[in-house]
């Protein structure tokens, strides 16, 4: 395996880490308006308060890793998806603001405004992230100069939007399961009910998304034709998703959360494998695609970055897991 492939795998791993971690706190945001009163909404925000910031760093580090390892992808993708990215940034800022400022004043109108900001920003961020991923998998117009030659509206194609909706449902389910683990009493009952209903939407969208991917995204069909063993990835992802349902039926959100995480990892592996060795495929002229060889940094930089990643990331994962352990158990209404 060459360095470029290692870096491809690491970028996929960083973004998967982001989906696993920030996924549930985005999901808590999407579910936020379903909470009945101020007390419940406070509990929802409290459940993610100590950890959401560290979760979001996975996205930042993913962005930094793409910049360092594949600067041409960073440049083409981020300038090409300009408006989408600016909206994503605005949504992430508004989310951070609502988490910070909601509790600063007692007036119901103040809290209400932040509640809706939090929910709207979480939904928009999830939708944009999913849509962006859908477009990357599908391919975007790239000119011979390696620059994006499409438009913002072009990103809103059916497959991209389907992936956006799928991401919203996935994160909502992820968030509901997390809440099921972190809360007790009536709120836990509610969270489990939200998990049930978001599972139903998630299940339908998962089926639609997989069918659309198999039949309309040639690279995924091709992957399965060339490497039939890869068929295990979507099959296991569906099985893991089915297991989420089973565990929910047994009233065990912890195991359902694990099953859903496994499903996320398998889907990420499927999309990663189908992209490889492309990072940003070009549609309709595949010869302009940015791949791990024509868009990468020098071998020396890839080697340096590998040392940074291999020394730094295990430590990060260790202390992040440790801090999650500190905050294990049910969320306390007064965490200060």
């Amino acid at each position: 395996m060459d360095l470029n492939t290692v870096w491809f795998a690491l970028v996929v791993a960083l973004l998967t880490g982001y989906a696993l971690l920030d996924g549930f706190d985005l999901g808590v945001g999407i579910l936020h308006p379903l909470a009945q009163d101020g007390e419940e909404r406070r509990m929802l925000m409290s459940s993610i308060a100590p950890v959401w910031d560290g979760n979001e760093v996975w996205l930042l580090t993913g962005g930094g890793a793409i910049f360092a390892a594949f600067p041409n992808v960073y440049a083409t993708l981020f300038s090409g998806f300009y408006l989408a990215l600016i909206l994503l940034l605005a949504a992430l800022i508004l989310r951070a603001l609502s988490l910070e400022f909601r509790g600063q004043r007692p007036e119901p109108s103040w809290r209400n405004a932040w509640d809706w900001t939090f929910a709207g920003a979480s939904l928009v961020a999830s939708l944009l992230l999913g849509t962006a991923l859908g477009n990357i998998v599908r391919g975007v117009p790239i000119g011979t100069d390696g620059e994006f030659s499409g438009s913002f509206l072009g990103l809103l194609n059916p497959y991209g939007l389907l992936m956006g909706a799928f991401a919203c449902a996935l994160f909502a389910l992820h968030g509901a399961l997390y809440l099921g683990c972190k809360t007790e009493g009536s709120l836990r009952e509610k969270a489990l009910a939200w998990a049930q209903s978001s599972f139903n939407i998630f299940g339908v969208l998962l089926a639609m998304m997989l069918c659309a991917s198999l039949f309309f995204i040639p690279r995924i069909g091709e992957l399965l034709r060339l490497h039939p063993a890869a068929l295990a990835l979507p099959l296991l992802a569906v099985l893991a998703a089915a297991d989420v349902r089973r565990e929910l039926g047994c009233g065990s959100p912890h195991r359902a959360l694990l099953a859903l995480s496994a499903s996320i990892v398998l889907l990420a592996a499927l999309f990663g494998a189908s992209l490889y060795p492309d990072l940003l495929p070009s549609l309709p002229s595949p010869e302009n695609s940015l791949d791990i060889y024509n868009a990468c940094s020098s071998p020396k930089t890839l080697k340096i970055m590998l040392v940074i990643a291999l020394t730094g990331m295990p430590v990060v994962v260790a202390y992040q897991a440790f801090v999650y352990r500190i905050f294990r158990g049910k969320v306390r209404p007064d965490a200060y």
Partner: protein
């Protein structure tokens, strides 16, 4: 307006606004470690209350710093794609290293600091405060590495030609410790410590003048003042060393700092002045020979003037001159303010000097303005280069992003940041009004 100009305005707005917060959290991070350490070793509950109070303010500052910082990580790609292609091989690794080595550390342990007091041992809590401060300092380090490489590029070679040309790394450590990294890093840290310290001094002075939370305010005032004095003296040294590096590696920038057109011995340093760029002269109060003396330790050694530099390679002189001199003037003022404080502290009458406390009241603004103007002079002084002597700013912006798109994002950021600023100021004011007493818990959603 052109794409280049709009992209520059947007970058200046977003980075300038962002930079209101990280120096404050770096400085407060150090001060919180001091207070938390006092509490750990003395078990005096006053210090615990103070540490908790300043940690609440740190949390607010950090949250806004993060919210505005994400933009920076992505803006190179969105607005400066051609720059990103050119420098990615070199410039990307410090940014990624910041995430891996610094930002995770800071964000994750801040969760413990804000929400974990009751869940961890006092020793672990103290360690968390150290790790958060360490994370903030490391974060600044990697960002300064990246920015210093734009000023004094090293450890690379150029591969390819024309539009395909790019910088590739040859020596990682030469890139990390490029000629200006350590000078600029120490100067930025000094500025950050002053920002935190004078903020603490300001708030404490406010309490003392109003006769509120006096025990806490006295302890905070001393802690803040000690760091303010240390950092403002340190800044003289780091500023001086920085200027020498600039003279050696970026002569056009140094010449713009002092409006020096003619290469001459006994080059003057201006206390203040106005650059008449058309007639290539400065109207103001010069100290003859001081610039030569400071840069070369000998007034008889010539300093390079702007006439040696082709007109198209010169930065806008008066703008750089003014921002640089505002920074220097404020630096001197802050040395005076902290020296006065130390003097009366030594005499044992610090808290009776109401005139001094009144002078301290608005002093939180001084390091903030000095930070902003210092950065403006450093970055505008680098113009017209985005990477000094290698790539022009006009070659760096994104080719696929139109002026109307940037105008849209610029207005969006301006509105969002105005909102953030109002919310931050309002919340900060509530926290200060509430003060360090735990008698009445302030309302929170947590």
């Amino acid at each position: 307006m052109s794409v280049e100009l709009l992209a520059r305005i947007q970058f200046a707005l977003t980075v300038g606004f962002h930079y209101l917060y990280p120096p404050l959290s770096i400085g407060l991070g150090v001060l919180i470690v001091c207070l938390e350490g006092r509490w750990f070793f003395s078990q005096d509950p006053l210090y615990r209350r103070l540490s908790e109070f300043w940690t609440r303010i740190f949390g607010l500052t950090f949250a806004v710093g993060v919210a505005t910082g994400i933009v920076m990580e992505f803006e190179f790609g969105t607005n400066w794609a051609s720059y990103s292609r050119f420098v990615g091989d070199v410039f990307g690794s410090p940014l990624a290293a910041e995430g891996v080595f610094a930002f995770f550390l800071e964000s994750i342990f801040l969760g413990v600091l804000l929400f974990g007091r009751g869940r961890v041992t006092p020793r672990f809590y103290l360690a968390s405060s150290v790790l958060v401060a360490l994370g903030a300092h490391l974060s600044a380090f990697w960002i300064i590495v990246a920015n210093s490489w734009q000023q004094t590029p090293a450890g690379f070679h150029i591969v390819g030609e024309g539009l395909k040309a790019r910088a590739e790394i040859t020596d990682f450590w030469a890139m990390v410790f490029n000629p200006s990294t350590l000078d600029r890093y120490s100067h930025v840290l000094g500025g950050a410590w002053m920002t935190g310290a004078f903020f603490m001094v300001s708030v404490s002075a406010y309490y003392l003048l109003r006769k509120r939370h006096e025990d806490g305010a006295k302890a905070s005032l001393k802690t803040g003042l000690a760091l303010a004095a240390l950092a403002s003296i340190l800044q003289l040294g780091t500023g001086h060393v920085s200027a020498i590096t600039v003279a050696k590696h970026q002569p056009a920038k140094l010449a713009a700092f002092e409006g020096l057109y003619e290469t001459r011995t006994w080059a003057p340093l201006y206390a203040f002045g106005w650059v008449d760029a058309k007639n290539e002269r400065v109207i103001g109060l010069p100290v003859p020979g001081l610039l030569s003396l400071l840069v070369h330790f000998d007034p008889r050694v010539p300093v390079t003037g702007l006439r040696e530099i082709p007109a198209q390679d010169r930065p806008p002189v008066n703008f750089v001159f003014q921002t640089y001199h505002i920074m220097i003037g404020l630096g001197m003022l802050m040395i005076g303010l902290s020296a006065a404080g130390l003097f009366f502290w030594w005499r044992g009458s610090l808290f009776e000097q109401r005139w001094l406390l009144r002078a301290y009241l608005p002093s939180f603004l001084l390091p903030q303005i000095a930070n902003q103007t210092g950065w403006i002079s450093a970055e505008v002084g680098r113009q017209p280069w985005i990477v000094y002597n290698l790539l022009r700013t006009s070659q760096g912006f994104s080719k696929t992003v139109g002026a109307s798109e940037i105008l849209f994002s610029l207005i969006l950021f301006a509105l969002l940041y105005a909102l953030i600023f109002i919310l931050f100021a309002m919340t900060l004011w509530n926290k200060i009004e509430h003060g360090p007493d735990e008698a009445t818990q302030e309302p929170t959603w947590t």
